[in-house]
Subunit: 217 residues, 2 copies
DNA sequence: GTGGAAACGAGAGCAGCGCTCTCCCAACAT
DNA sequence: ATGTTGGGAGAGCGCTGCTCTCGTTTCCAC
């Protein structure tokens, strides 16, 4: 069982998500394909296991990075999260693609099993921003966001997460979040063009600074 | 031949990229599978055709949107591009996923056939920013970007595209570009969480404004 | 100890897939 | 009339996900 996930991960890393074959996993396990079905039920369920596994590993990577940054240095904490996401994505491109790339056709991860581990990164980010806001270190134009419909949605999100940060920060946080993953995806999937940057880390660091500033830090 | 691409597109829309089957296309075409191989050579080649097709359609959508905005209104031109990308992505989610999602395993689009149409959107964006810069409507902190290594890369990009805009604008433009697609991908692939927003267009508009400001417009 | 239940792997099999090969046939050129 | 070419048909190979049956092993209650 553990072995199935382990071998599945190695296949994911070497072959990619859609090429992940239950039969091949069984072969590597030295067992016939039907035996694997005792444990996983279907290829989609194996994918779900790998998705949860991936989210957890990414969450662990982010947590580990945060432990090395003083709690009061909010900007650096945000940078650490960004760098951890990028580093993990570069280390596990296939798993990253499974989590944040286009969904595998015909497969949609069951929300009840993936939303928990899947929200660890954004929750950490929200935590950083909320801390910074409480410490008075965020400078943003005040005034409520428009339209009111959006303001209502943001208020609900604030309430669900127990935040005191204002609408504008929540909204900009979501942008920073999406932008962060956009940058990582562009770099990883080669959208910048081949060899656009000798050292992609440089442009990422630049982008990270702009995003830190965009949330008022 | 044309029919193959047409049916391929409809399968892409209904079944998704990895479920795209040459045999199924042949069936819909009322022909045996081997007959299709006279025209496309392989499934990957069909994917390439669809990729080029998709880039072209997205490029057309962006161009059409730009035609309705006065050339001098640079901020609105940037907004129009963003909205056109989002609208097209929502209209053609499967094709968008094929172009900007995780790569289909074992398949990588041949650069020589996709880089041309694949760069239409970013070229349009660059055009807008360059125009705005030339018109003196961009306000950015001056000073060169660091490290020098990044500055060199950006200088090369500026030269290749014949730009007069400074490093900082080029770098921020790339961020805005990646962020735009990050936002669209997050919305399309449901990363925001289910039903986070009653009207996703609202948050997108907010993000778009932040990005317009981020490039100094 | 023994009998039954549960767990587990093997193997065959079905339908679908990408892709290749051979064959056949019609249209066209010489 | 003959040869060349283009294009579809069909069989076939090995792969896939998945299901079914069957035999074996293990373990637990009595």
């Amino acid at each position: 069982m553990r072995d199935i996930v382990r071998i599945g991960r190695s296949h994911l890393a070497t072959e990619g998500a859609a090429a992940l074959s239950l039969r091949a996993v069984a072969r590597d396990l030295g067992v016939v394909s039907s035996a694997v079905y005792r444990y996983v039920g279907s290829r989609d369920e194996l994918l779900t296991l790998l998705v949860v596994d991936g989210y957890d590993e990414l969450g662990d990577a982010v947590d580990a990075a945060l432990e090395r940054v003083p709690r009061a240095d909010h900007a650096d904490r945000m940078r650490a999260i960004g760098r951890a996401v990028r580093a993990w994505a570069l280390a596990e491109p296939a798993t990253y693609a499974l989590l944040f790339g286009s969904p595998v056709p015909g497969y949609s991860a069951p929300a009840e099993r993936t939303t928990g581990p899947g929200t660890r990164v954004i929750l950490r980010l929200v935590e950083v921003w909320e801390d910074a806001w409480a410490a008075g270190e965020i400078t943003l134009p005040d005034g409520s966001v428009s339209p009111r419909r959006l303001s209502r949605d943001l208020a609900r999100i604030r309430r669900e997460l127990g935040l005191t940060a204002p609408d504008e920060l929540v909204a900009r946080g979501m942008l920073a979040w999406a932008a962060l993953f956009g940058c990582v995806s562009f770099e990883l999937f080669g959208q910048y063009g081949p060899d656009a940057f000798a050292e992609p880390k440089d442009i990422f660091e630049h982008h990270l600074e702009v995003l830190v500033a965009a949330v008022g830090l």
